[in-house]
């Protein structure tokens, strides 16, 4: 039977050690803030490069293809084609995009038959790039109309605003970095601790006390839950104060901040225990952590990735943590968040049981 007194005693001594090691605190609390400042600055609306424009070409004829080619001029605008027959407005919302162009079906035929046809330009009035995109599209329309000398205005522009709230990159970045923090702090720490304690035989020493493996592991989970909550608070406050992040706060965030550390503490423990040396544990830990970090939607939405990478992402636990946080904090889509949470819960329970099972106090 686990004793809360021993868990607390172990937690206390671990927190002291952790907080006295400046490196651990730096990576848990300061590093994610630095990433927010860095990525926030990079993606906070500056126009240093070509503006990305999502284009859905429902026509596919030679004139529409030429129109898209003209828009993809590399200097001012860069085209990302949206496949299929989608609701472009919703697509732009889900991709945190501020500009899009819809070329309707029959565009080529209408143009060639001198029938008036409109392209739809979706813009965000709050975004400084939107007028540039509109003017660029307008310039292309003018040149196409000039080329078609029989009618003055065969192509027109219908400008629409992107509906709903305006999402910014920072809105997606913060839940991603919360997930990043929940992943990296316990993973790196536990991989290192478990392999190091195994090497120095500190686990063996602890086995000579009444402390149990479950109690030891529980105290680590508690600490990383606390650290995750502090980190969450710091990141959301910095993101809101400096970059005007719009995030919804709901109680459903809390279970993600509890189950996330439970999973990654267990995973870190497992990696450390099955590795033969501290060095190999670090390598295996990095091999698991870094791909998961970049493929799970930490820094950019998974939907932007090629389909095969998206499939890989859907096999990664961090994806469900970040997706769950996105669903709660951005879309307020609690049913999807609940699905993510349930999946994380099952994975975490399995990982915890395996971690305890592979965690050997005694004989090497």
């Amino acid at each position: 039977m686990a004793s809360p007194r021993r868990v607390l005693a172990d937690l206390k001594v671990f927190i002291r050690g952790y907080t006295r090691s400046k490196i651990g605190l730096f990576f848990s609390l300061v590093f994610p803030i630095i990433l927010i400042l860095l990525f926030g600055a990079i993606f906070s609306g500056g126009n240093g490069g070509p503006i990305n424009v999502y284009v859905e070409n429902r026509d596919g004829g030679p004139v529409s293809v030429a129109f898209v080619k003209a828009l993809d001029n590399k200097n001012t605008t860069r085209v990302t084609l949206v496949e299929g027959n989608q609701n472009l407005s919703q697509y732009l919302l889900s991709h945190s995009a501020n500009q899009g162009v819809l070329i309707p079906s029959g565009f080529t035929q209408d143009y060639l038959s001198n029938t008036t046809v409109n392209v739809i330009v979706y813009t965000n009035p709050a975004d400084t790039s939107s007028p540039i995109v509109y003017e660029t599209v307008n310039g292309i329309v003018t040149s196409f109309n000039a080329a078609n000398s029989t009618r003055l205005h065969s192509i027109g522009i219908n400008q629409l605003n992107i509906k709903s709230q305006t999402y910014k990159y920072i809105d997606f970045l913060i839940p991603g970095l919360v997930g990043f923090s929940v992943l990296t702090s316990p993973m790196f720490s536990l991989v290192n601790i478990s392999s190091e304690y195994k090497k120095t035989k500190l686990f063996k020493q602890l086995s000579l006390t009444p402390l149990t493996k479950t109690e030891w592991l529980t105290s680590k989970v508690i600490w990383y839950v606390v650290l995750g909550i502090i980190s969450f608070f710091l990141m959301t406050q910095v993101g809101s104060a400096l970059f005007g992040a719009h995030l919804d706060y709901a109680l459903m965030i809390i279970p993600f901040l509890v189950i996330g550390p439970l999973f990654f503490v267990s995973l870190g423990m497992l990696v450390g225990m099955v590795s033969k040396s501290v060095e190999s544990a670090a390598v295996v830990g990095n091999l698991i952590t870094f791909p998961m970090m970049f493929l799970s939607g930490t820094f950019f939405p998974v939907s932007l990735m090629p389909m095969y990478l998206q499939n890989i992402a859907h096999g990664l636990p961090l994806f469900y943590l970040i997706d769950g946080l996105n669903q709660v904090m951005i879309y307020s889509n609690f049913s999807q968040a609940l699905f993510d949470l349930e999946l994380m819960f099952v994975l975490s329970a399995i990982a915890f049981v395996f971690a305890v099972a592979f965690f050997k106090w005694r004989e090497d």
Binding site: A9, R16, G17, L202, K204, Q205, S207, T209, P210
Partner: protein, 321 residues
């Protein structure tokens, strides 16, 4: 009444018999030492007794219990310093004692325990900044927090400087006076001789002799000896003239004495030889002499055996030069 009973204990690592059918007992209130070189099987034996390793054969009882099956309950009655004791680098000795006290569910004044092991002056220093001797003392302090009936000290002074080692001995002697039963492993012969009530010498997984240090010396020793510094020619001369048991090792000529008159005869022979000699002394065999005799070499600082033939080669080299 025995605190520990071991009968035909065996432990295999693959094909290697690390512990090969050893038997011994440790009485309550005594200091019992397992003495031997690295790889003799001392740590494996003590770890089996602590419940850290499972045995492959034989019977053991520690405070009346099987340590592998009842380890969790037994550890509450044991105090243990494992070999190469370590702790959380950023914890102080005071915090460490408080931590262990909480784990064991006992109330202790950390300062009292740290004073007992002479570590009160470093009670607020991080573990990573303690000296080797201080770290071992902390190990001892933690082994004491639960007022154990039985203490296992696995090479508690390995790697310490002579002064730190002697400080540790003082602490262990103090614990013995308080009535603690102590099982010690060491590769320091002097340590075993000074601290132990009884000693078992281990080599290649077997106990080659055991008993009190005096009993072992009596049983395996060669009585009183007269020794001088001289060369091998002197040893040959005395052996030829007196017919005594004379040995030569590394510039040391040693004559075994049956009675006091033998000393006079041997000395006269040395004087008559006309060969150079110096540093006359008589002495009894020490535990180290017995160890060399039984194991076939002396123990180095790191616990490895230096064979007698190595010494002879070295002596020859020195003589030639």
């Amino acid at each position: 009444m025995s605190a520990i009973e071991v009968s035909s204990l065996e432990k295999l690592y693959g094909q290697l018999k690390a512990v090969d059918g050893i038997s011994f007992s440790v009485r309550k209130g005594e200091v019992f030492s397992l003495l031997g070189p690295n790889g003799a099987g001392k740590t494996t034996t003590i770890e089996i007794l602590e419940g850290l390793r499972q045995r492959d054969g034989g019977q053991i009882s520690v405070l009346g219990a099987d340590p592998w099956k009842k380890g969790y309950q037994l550890h509450k009655k044991l105090g243990i310093i494992p070999q190469g004791f370590t702790f959380f680098p950023k914890a102080t000795p005071r915090e460490a004692v408080t931590y262990y006290s909480t784990l064991f569910g006992v109330k202790n004044d950390p300062d009292v325990i740290l004073r007992k092991v002479i570590l009160d002056d470093a009670s607020k220093v991080y573990f990573e900044n303690l000296s080797g001797g201080q770290k071992q003392k902390l190990g001892l302090a933690l082994a004491l927090v639960n007022s154990p009936e039985l203490l296992f000290l696995d090479e508690p002074t390995t790697g310490l400087d002579p002064q730190a080692r002697r400080n540790m001995w003082d602490v262990i002697r103090g614990l013995e006076k308080e009535g603690h039963t102590i099982m010690l492993t060491t590769h320091y012969l002097e340590e075993a001789e000074v601290l132990s009530d009884r000693v078992a010498i281990m080599n290649h997984g077997r106990i080659i002799t055991d008993g009190t240090p005096a009993d072992i010396i009596q049983k395996h020793g060669s009585g009183e000896r007269l020794e001088v510094r001289g060369d091998e020619m002197l040893a040959d001369y005395v052996r030829e003239k007196t017919g005594f048991d004379v040995t030569y090792d590394a510039g040391n000529v040693s004559v075994r004495l049956r009675d006091k008159r033998d000393a006079v005869i041997a000395l006269a022979s040395i004087d008559q030889s006309g060969l150079p000699w110096k540093d006359l002394r008589t002495r009894h065999d020490s535990l180290e002499d017995i160890f060399v005799k039984l194991v076939g070499g002396s123990l180095e600082e790191g616990g490895t055996i230096k064979r007698s033939s190595d010494k002879s080669n070295l002596a020859r080299e020195t003589t030639t030069r």
